[in-house]
């Protein structure tokens, strides 16, 4: 099992590391940057929303925080080699963690629904502040970043690898926490927080820690995004769609799993681009997006991976009881994740 997951992880990393070298067109790399960004952020969201069971709707606030931090930093610092913005990303993450810590500490003393209320309010307050504090943020005019001085043929590479590193960090932290006491504590909190507290889990500490790490990762992705876009506007940096994207991908792939958010992102981001391309106007796109979300919530609330895992387990149980050779049944279900994706056409209600 662990050999298998090692191979799976190795192939995944190697394939993504090699992808830019294969000479794809710019739009493919552009799409991949956004896919990796959402995969990283959805993985990070999973730490809080999936493992601890606290549905944060305010992660986009930290995405915007990271974006504006990098944007503001380079109002006062020059970009020479082009790689400086990537070097300040850890600071962006640290600031997000420092800002997120007290908020999580206060909001997580209450139940999950009040937590969701606080986080979504935080998102809109952050957006309004970005609009209103125009002497600092430029308000609705936005904030311009220096143009990245990379050669055109390899323009996307640095952003691609930056997003990839954030994704790998996110997945690595998820993997380590799943293998450690932290993961067990988070599981216990999601199952029954009062009982977890009763048996001696450091409930508050673990929750707040996972929130801080989670928003730090999201803020770093926001920083890369701001540099890649070169322009940061309040309505795009603090977009509720970013929050909903993270949540949706995590739900689609499977909450509380290592690969779920990644699978969700690899299905939804290209799907999203396709929808935007086919439907043109952003309004229909919003309807379709919300429609897909509702379909997933109603039809497959546990997500692809847990649903498949259940099916495999059931088949194995059947196979074991009817004396068939068990290893033969292990392979077919791995082929099927795509077939479980709801068709986006049923969007309008």
């Amino acid at each position: 099992m662990s050999i298998r997951s090692l191979v799976r992880g190795g192939v995944f990393v190697a394939a993504l590391m090699a992808l830019p070298l294969l000479g794809f067109e710019h739009w493919v790399l552009n799409l991949m940057i956004f896919t990796l960004m959402y995969a990283a952020m959805s993985s990070a969201w999973n730490l809080v929303g999936g493992f601890a069971g606290y549905p944060s709707l305010g992660h986009a606030a930290f995405f915007g925080l990271g974006a504006y931090f990098v944007g503001l930093w380079f109002q006062h610092h020059a970009v020479v080699t082009g790689y400086e913005p990537f070097l300040v990303l850890p600071i962006a993450g640290l600031i997000a963690a420092v800002v997120g810590f007290p908020i999580a500490w206060i909001a997580m003393r209450t139940r999950a629904d009040v937590f969701a209320i606080v986080t979504i309010t935080l998102l809109f307050v952050a957006q309004t502040l970005a609009f209103n504090l125009d002497s600092l943020t430029g308000g609705a005019q936005g904030l311009a970043m220096p143009t990245p001085p990379f050669e055109l043929a390899r323009f996307e590479w640095p952003f691609y690898y930056a997003m990839l590193w954030i994704l790998l960090a996110s997945m690595g932290i998820t993997y380590l926490s799943m293998r450690s006491k932290v993961g067990l504590s988070l599981d216990a909190i999601r199952a029954d927080e009062d009982k977890a507290l009763g048996v001696g889990v450091h409930v508050q500490g673990v929750k707040v820690l996972s929130f801080s790490i989670s928003v730090a990762l999201v803020a770093m992705a926001g920083g890369v995004w701001a540099y890649y876009e070169t322009f940061t506007y309040p309505q795009f940096a603090f977009d509720p769609i970013i929050t909903i994207g993270m949540v949706l991908m995590c739900f689609l792939g499977g909450r509380g799993t290592l690969w779920g958010p990644v699978i969700g992102a690899f299905i939804l981001v290209p799907g999203q681009q396709y929808l935007a391309y086919r439907l043109g106007g952003s309004q229909f796109y919003l309807i379709a997006y919300a429609g897909v979300f509702l379909l997933i919530m109603l039809l497959m609330p546990r997500g692809i991976l847990p649903t498949i895992a259940d099916r495999v387990r059931r088949r194995r149980a059947i196979a074991a009881s009817s004396e068939g050779p068990p290893p033969a049944d292990a392979s077919p279900p791995t082929a099927g994740p795509g077939s479980n994706v709801p068709v986006p056409s049923g969007g309008a209600a």
């Binding site: 999950a112 209320i117 209103n132 309807i287 379709a288 919300a290 509702l294």
Partner: protein, 296 residues
Amino acid sequence: MTGSVHALIQGVVLGILTGGVYALMASGQTLIFGIMKVVNLAQGALVILAAYLSYTLFTSFGLDPLLTIPLTTVIMFGLGVVIQLVFLRPLKREDSAQLSLLVTFAVALLLEGFMSVVWKTTYRSTNTDYANSSWTFWGIQFTVVRVVAFVLSLVALGLLFLLLNRTKFGRAVRATVQNPMSAELLGVESKRVAALGFGLGAATAAAAGSVYGLLYPFNSGSHYDLISELLSIVVLGGLGSVGGAVIAALIVSTSSAVVATVFSPTWSSFTFFVILILVLLVRPQGLFGTVERGAL
């Protein structure tokens, strides 16, 4: 000195008058939470939808937005029932509280998308001929629209109060809020109450929406501003407490108007968040909330 006192009084007046509308919107939201334990993130979108409905009735048929409230109330009630039946009732899992939160968020986005397709994204406002007139007493300005809005909200809240306290349906609702299981044992059909209760919560958005359209320019994205304000109010009042929501609406709206007039409008939207955080620090169950069960 007198200038700042004057501004303070003007802020308080403005806050109280606006608070009536917020009280109406928040009462619907807190009612839905009380009955179903669902934080309805679509409440803001429902208000904006109602604002568009009365805007269209006004611009296309010349009907006064205040007179069309009964009609929009019926429409919003029906829509609320449909949303509950289609999207919320099927959620039958142990973590349905978390799922319902996300489902209502998706419903909000769906409504936003629908509204931006139908009415585009340019800002609209319902400009009646009395929209800009005002009375002035002792140097304090009372806008006609705001006074009307305040009175109207009081009337709507009064009707809601009567419905909850003087009818059989209201009793069933209150019983469900207090203890769903006992209510069901005593013969309350909780599924029916949930559907009608969601409808009722959405119906309060109708009157609130008509008034909102008179007071502020709005577009399909305006529900984002509304929802964070409404949620802060509902948490301050105590989730599930209608009376608490009314008082909290007045408190939040007044303090935010005072901050806007005395300091700067920039920080007034931040007031909501500060109040929310303070409530959670000092009294997480809100002013009138109970720790265990909801209370009306």
